[in-house]
């Protein structure tokens, strides 16, 4: 039975000490623990990325040997995908804000939530172990394609087990959120009055639940093949490598939407909060999340256009991929239409949202180039692809996450950061980002292949621009983080609702009390985004 707990103290103050964090059942503390872990891994991944860019500043061997380079991009990919971007928004902001935005005091299964966190830690430990034991981290690329992943002497088994455990963590988080959304909404909050962030997490959770088991079992098969030498995927002992690719992408394409949908949910919160205007096409945004989740299941073959599938299969996958772009475009139009004639308050979170729209658009449109069968044959496995997915994952989801951080920072810590410095950090990040990745698209069209530590001299200029871009981006990142760390200690204290938003999380104190609300949360009249002027 629920017992009454003081609402005077906030959730930081109510209990102290390391154990009160590590074994907490409070969704907010679990969210924050994820935050610190995920940001740390992000920074490790960034350092690896900067190393790669440094290697690529000039043709030939610059700072690392080819094998080391292969290990670096694999570790970079594994960390960025499994330890950073997949958990990022759901595990941090979903955990922290989903219950508050639904007007409740916790997720449906708090203990399961803690278990998810510990599984995440376990998976992270396995990933780090690859650094110190045996022949070092895997050098297969984050895709672990067979047969090479079966043959290489590097720590594929450990990396794959790490991904397996992290998958488990992701499944349990998804399960928890689905039940939370079904059972714990505030009285009167129907599905169609739910915040769009909750909708996007709902769609994401279904993907986590229904796609992740496939990769789980596939990765176990890789382990079995390595341990017992059975030809599951290695053709030299009777296996079928194409089958591996199918199984891998049956998960990993939907996983792209695990990365993208929560980000779209964030943008759907940011835009109305700063345009002070009712969101345009609430239902279109909500249901298009579900549509993306559904159609996203049937497009995985677009990663395999050059693997030797039948012509018919390739055409079908190509068409389906075009279709999945439609609900995505619907959202973009909705966001832009919401801005139209709004009373726009230009604050740092909104800047991130605008950069998201711009960069996600480039990422999405370059995705259509890759979805077009004929074009993909030419740019498959070139730097065009590297440019494309960084625009989607980093320029999209990464920027949405930074936007969310700047938006909810005053709610989580009860203080405001220096807005000017935040904007400078934002500007450097955005400029650096585009200098870093746009040249990659051009390089790809010129024919530079991905996953090499070397290139032909004629690619040099654009590579230098890209590397310089990575430095600008790094400076922006440092400024952003330094500004926030400083604000956490010395920032000006804020009240409940510094942005003047009508979303429910702003009704409670900043930081919130342990059970989230000190007075009964009220639904906004006329829907969650109905601003009255």
């Amino acid at each position: 039975m629920a017992t009454a707990i003081s609402t005077e103290k906030n959730f930081f103050e109510i209990k102290k000490g390391i154990a009160s964090w590590l074994f907490t059942l409070d969704h907010k503390r679990i969210g924050l623990m994820y935050f610190y872990a995920i940001i740390s891994f992000f920074l490790v991944g960034v350092i690896l990325g900067l190393l790669m860019r440094l290697e690529l500043i000039a043709p030939g061997e610059t700072i690392v040997k080819p094998t080391t380079y292969n290990q670096i991009f694999t570790l970079h990919g594994v960390i960025m995908i499994f330890l950073f971007i997949i958990p990022s928004i759901p595990a941090i902001f979903g955990n922290f804000f989903l219950p508050i935005m639904l007007g409740t005091d916790d997720v449906a299964f708090p203990r399961l939530n803690l278990l998810s966190w510990w599984l995440y830690v376990g998976g992270a430990v396995f990933a780090l172990l690859t650094l110190v034991v045996g022949d070092g981290p895997a050098d297969t690329g984050w895709t672990f394609y067979a047969p090479y992943s079966v043959q290489t002497g590097t720590n594929v088994t450990l990396s794959v087990l790490a991904a397996f455990i992290l998958g488990f963590s992701s499944i349990l988080t998804g399960l928890n959120f689905i039940v939370t959304i079904h059972r714990l909404r505030a009285p009167g909050m129907t599905f169609n009055k739910m915040p769009l962030f909750a909708w996007s997490l709902y769609a994401t959770s279904w993907i986590q639940l229904l796609a992740t088991p496939i990769i789980g079992i596939t990765l176990l098969m890789i382990v079995a093949e390595r341990v017992f030498g059975i030809g599951l995927f290695d053709p030299s002992i009777g296996g079928d490598p194409i089958l591996y690719q199918h199984l891998f992408w049956i998960y990993s394409h939907p996983a792209v939407y695990i990365m993208a949908l929560p980000a779209m949910g964030i943008i759907s919160e940011l835009i109305p909060s700063f345009a002070k205007r009712t969101i345009f096409g609430y239902k279109a945004i909500a249901y298009s999340s579900m549509a993306i989740a559904f159609v996203g299941y049937f497009v995985w073959g677009h990663h395999m256009f050059t693997s030797g599938m039948s012509g018919t299969a390739r055409v079908i996958f190509s068409i389906l991929t075009f279709i999945v772009a439609i609900p995505t475009a619907v959202k973009v139009f909705n966001w832009v239409a919401t801005l139209y004639k709004g009373s726009i308050d230009v604050q740092t979170p909104l800047l991130y949202a605008l950069a998201f729209i711009f960069q996600f658009l480039i990422g999405g449109l370059s995705g259509l180039v890759l979805a077009a069968l004929a074009a993909d044959i030419h740019v498959h496995d070139t730097y065009f692809v590297v440019g494309h997915f960084h625009y989607v994952m980093f320029g999209g989801t990464g920027f949405a996450m930074f936007g969310a951080l700047h938006y909810w920072f005053p709610k989580i810590w009860g203080r405001m950061y220096n807005k000017r410095t935040a904007n400078i950090g934002f500007a450097l990040l955005t400029v650096g980002f585009n200098f870093l990745y746009f040249p990659m698209m051009i390089l790809g069209l010129m024919g530079m292949p991905r996953r090499y530590y070397d290139y032909l001299p004629r690619f040099t200029d654009l590579n230098v621009i890209s590397t310089v871009g990575s430095w600008i981006l790094a400076i922006g990142l440092i400024i952003m983080l330094w500004n926030l760390i400083r604000a956490k200690k010395t920032g000006e204290k804020v009240g409940r609702n510094p942005w003047g938003s009508i979303s429910m999380e702003w009704q409670t104190k900043s930081p919130p009390p342990l059970e989230n609300f000190d007075k009964l949360p009220e639904l906004n009249e006329g829907g969650p985004y109905h601003y009255k002027h």
Binding site: A2, G103, D105, F109, I171, L232
Partner: protein, 206 residues
């Protein structure tokens, strides 16, 4: 000193939520095996003769006995739920013990079945196995992998039921607060269901 308890608090007891959580978990289990079924069908269609030949090596009798055992155990656990709902704790406990006994019997059978195969050298790394054509190797590998994973689920299910039995004993799970027992039942039915597919795939299709 303020405090507030929300009507929709996540700390309220909510059997409906527990059951929903369990169903969602079962979906993931089905998909986990689903991946293996895909692999099975792909390799069966590529090596149909070898799979056919290899499947003759399996003992249909033991397989059938195990199928009967599992179906019966599904029945006993379902009956124990009804018994507890009607307030007959003693009968419910007996039926749960019976379920556990069936689970154990299933594993013992499996142990002997695998044991005989391994004695004949049919296991990755052993002599007989190494000399098989690759299609038959795949068949047996999938056989060990899939029935092994299934046996693991039997063990987990047995532990789960054991925990629930302890709680029934202590009166923490009763006719009114039965969702944990129901969930263990759901899980057990799933384990049963997967076997219903594994059995024909490996033992019966000729």
């Amino acid at each position: 000193m303020g405090h507030l308890v929300l009507p929709n608090s996540g700390h309220n007891r909510d059997p409906e939520a527990n059951k929903m959580g369990m169903w969602l978990f079962l979906f993931t289990e089905l998909l986990l095996f689903g991946g293996l079924f895909i692999v099975y069908f792909v390799y069966r269609s590529m090596n149909s003769d070898a799979f056919l030949h290899a499947s003759y090596e399996l003992d249909v009798i033991i397989g059938t006995i195990n199928t009967v055992i599992l179906i019966t155990s599904s029945m006993t656990i379902a009956m124990s739920i009804t018994a507890l709902q009607k307030g007959n704790k003693k009968l419910a406990m007996y039926l749960l013990w019976a379920t556990q006994a069936f689970a154990l019997a299933f594993l013992v059978n499996k142990y002997f079945e695998w044991g005989i195969k391994i004695e004949h050298g049919i296991f990755p790394g052993l002599d007989h196995y190494n000399h098989m054509p690759s299609g038959e190797k795949l068949f047996f590998f999938l056989y060990y992998f899939m029935t092994g994973l299934h046996a693991l689920h039997i063990i987990v299910g047995g532990i789960f039921i054991g925990v629930v039995m302890k709680k029934v004993q202590k009166g923490e799970v009763t006719g009114e607060r039965i969702s944990l027992l129901e969930n263990s039942g759901l899980y057990w039915h799933l384990v049963d269901l997967i076997w219903i597919y594994l059995f024909p795939l490996f033992y019966l299709i000729h």
